[in-house]
């Protein structure tokens, strides 16, 4: 069964070496709190090891789309229409 790394950049790469910043760029992490998904492979694991101080990593079953990530951040409305008045 295939699984994915869910990688979130927690700390910025500004001020670090070009090599470290290059790894972030290769992972597609442009700014803080950016989240990317990659299949679990030794190559990606090595990239994560290079920037392990900056990212948080989770193993998930399937990658989320951009819309799903946005829906995850959106808070619950906290209300629902119980009885509607005459319109």
């Amino acid at each position: 069964m295939s699984s994915y790394f869910r990688i979130t950049l927690q700390r910025s790469g500004i001020g670090l070496t070009k090599r470290t910043q290059g790894v972030l760029k290769a992972l597609g992490l442009r700014h803080r709190m950016a989240t990317v998904f990659y299949p679990v492979t030794p190559e990606v694991a090595g990239q994560i090891m290079k920037v392990k101080e900056l990212v948080s990593v989770q193993e998930v079953a399937k990658p989320l789309s951009k819309e799903e990530l946005k829906a995850e951040r959106r808070p619950d409305p906290g209300f629902y229409l119980e009885s509607a008045a005459r319109r």
Partner: protein, 214 residues
């Protein structure tokens, strides 16, 4: 001389009505027709009506969320809730920290809340059920959620009373080295609601509902 008259007579017999031949026989058109054999128009019934400019549908109206399905997860009441919830409910008045779109509102029954936004799709008289609360308390007791209190423990309802609007605001927008001034007007609307009911459900009722579900 003779040849010219002969030619003219032939032309006249061919195209007696007009001086020029029809357009599809003109040299330029004829070449075009010969070179592009696939110049075939699709029949008109293939046109999708949604692509026509005058049949544009209005944008979908935004409606408030409707009642969600009942929660399948059984209500787990630990010993502290069993012990303290009756004490909390016997106290005279209660407050609740309601969250609407993630923003907290500390309210009690009878309060008027002016939301900082215009709620789409509601009219005065609508009753909303508020079901996300982080804290529910009285003078001496507080029930705290992690992060939210289970919505089956309490009932909080709000009635929409109307919309308020702020006075018109104008802002002058000017760019440097340019005398043009753009005046932007804004007049925002806010939904107003009254907390009509705040009730803490009794333990016996909760257990009865649980037994019916199982």
């Amino acid at each position: 001389m003779l040849s010219r008259t002969v030619r003219r007579s032939i032309l006249d017999t061919k195209f007696s009505s007009s001086a020029l031949p029809p357009t599809f026989l003109l040299p330029s058109r004829a070449r075009y027709l010969q070179s592009t054999a696939q110049h075939v128009e699709t029949p008109p019934q293939a046109i999708d009506p949604s692509q026509l400019p005058f049949r544009k549908l209005p944008p979908p109206r935004r409606a408030p969320p409707t009642q969600p399905e009942s929660i399948a997860m059984p209500l787990i009441l630990d010993s502290t809730i069993r012990e303290m919830l009756p004490l909390l409910s016997t106290q005279p008045s209660h407050y609740v920290n309601i969250h609407i779109h993630g923003k907290p509102y500390l309210v009690t029954a009878g309060d008027t809340v002016r939301l900082p936004f215009h709620m789409p799709g509601v009219v005065p008289g609508d009753v909303l059920r508020l079901n996300r609360a982080t804290a529910l308390g009285s003078r001496d007791y507080t029930l705290k959620g992690t992060p939210y209190i289970d919505e089956r423990l309490f009932e909080c309802r709000a009635r929409i009373t109307g919309t308020e609007s702020e006075p018109m605001r104008t802002k002058e927008k000017k760019k440097r080295r340019n005398r043009r001034i753009n005046t932007v007007k804004s007049k925002l609307r806010f939904t107003v609601m009254t907390i009509s009911e705040l009730k803490i459900n009794r333990l016996e009722d909760l257990e009865k509902v649980e037994q019916n579900a199982t």
